[in-house]
């Protein structure tokens, strides 16, 4: 039975805190939703989901031990990861490095932002730094329906490190974070090898764990699933 999923987002352009509801419906009949008070919502999306749809929860995949240990090894001793790895969507127009090459993607193309929080300890005369490190990934199908992913860029943001340690923190992050693109690409290529003998008609992203029934709430900036329609 096909499923209609409706998503209501707190922010425009389909971002932030997200309410969702999915209802199955038979062919030739309405899928209907009554929601008396959807609250402070500023954008919405609807997707008609086929029975053949396959979904992959990207947060669950990102937090398997093989991935987290690779990420921790990448960070080295000076930077420590302080959160689980999150994987949300972000439209291209909101990606921090968009300004360096705006036409690389369309404004509302969805990249997956894979990110986590970190902590850096500093000498006693500085405050410690806390922030997040992000990588931006594009999933796509080639002309034969093969599934691929490309690590498109990186960014970091932190607070603290003042008054004198931000330079050393920037040096460490500017060395380690870009170098992580290759590691992440290798991890993605290895993960997608499981799909190498399959071809697909469509790849898209769904908020949260891609639930096919019921209501729920998720922050789409932090949790999405990959959805595939086999050919």
């Amino acid at each position: 039975m096909p499923v209609l999923s409706n998503y209501w987002f707190h922010e425009v352009d389909f971002r932030g805190d997200t309410e969702f509801l999915s209802v199955g419906h038979g062919p030739g009949s309405w899928a209907w939703i009554n929601w008396s008070d959807i609250g402070d919502r500023h954008s919405t999306l609807v997707w008609e989901r086929e029975d053949a749809e396959l979904t992959v929860d990207l947060v669950a995949q990102a937090n398997n031990p093989a991935v987290t240990s690779a990420v921790d090894a990448l960070l080295g001793g000076s930077v420590s990861r302080t959160s689980a790895i999150k994987a949300g969507w972000i439209p291209w127009r909101y990606v921090p490095y968009r300004g360096s090459d705006p036409s690389r993607h369309a404004d509302l193309d969805l990249l997956v932002r894979i990110f986590f929080n970190f902590h850096i300890s500093t000498p006693w005369y500085c405050t410690d730094a806390d922030g997040d490190i992000s990588y931006y990934v594009v999933f796509f199908l080639d002309g034969s329906g093969g599934l691929h992913a490309s690590v498109d860029g990186w960014s970091y943001h932190y607070d603290g490190g003042g008054p004198f340690c931000t330079g050393a923190i920037d040096d460490a992050l500017n060395a380690q974070v870009p170098a992580g693109m290759g590691t992440l690409q290798d991890l993605l290529d290895a993960a997608l090898a499981a799909y190498a003998d399959q071809s697909f008609d469509l790849v898209y992203l769904l908020p949260g764990g891609a639930d096919r029934s019921g209501v729920g709430n998720v922050n789409v900036d932090e949790h999405v699933s990959l959805a595939l329609l086999p050919r």
Binding site: D13, F14, L45, W89, P91, P96, Y97, S100, D101, R104, A106, D107, L108, D109, L110, P123, W124, Y125, V138, F139, F140, L141, D142, G143, G145, H148, S150, V151, D152, G153, W154, S155, Y156, H157, P163, F164, C165, G167, A168, D170, D171, L173, N174, P178, M181, D201, L202, V203, Y204, L205, R231
Partner: protein
């Protein structure tokens, strides 16, 4: 060693020596773009923090991208990808009403 690194390190070490002449044992850290001299001390019974920082750096960007040629080459094979723009698919689409 670059001229800048030389200047930063030399100045930081001079500051360190000045404090030492006053009997203050300070920590010193010198890197390519920064030198920091820091001490906790006491002067006439008053606890003091002394921190001197020498830097020649400009703030670097906190983001970066795969080189445009590489990204375009990799995405050249992309037929379908997730988007909220008008979507295309690799399989035939049923006509839709405007």
């Amino acid at each position: 060693m670059t001229h800048s690194e030389h200047a930063v390190g030399r100045l930081a070490r001079k500051l360190h020596q000045c404090l030492a002449q006053e009997g203050i044992q300070a920590e010193i850290e010198v890197s390519e773009h920064e030198g920091t001299v820091a001490a906790r001390t006491e002067f006439d019974g008053t606890p003091l923090l002394v921190v001197a920082h020498v830097s020649d750096r400009e703030l670097p960007p906190a983001h970066g991208a795969q080189p445009a040629e590489q990204a375009r080459a990799r995405l050249l094979t992309a037929a379908v990808r997730p988007t909220l723009e008008q979507r295309s698919a690799s399989r035939p689409q049923t006509p839709s009403r405007a």
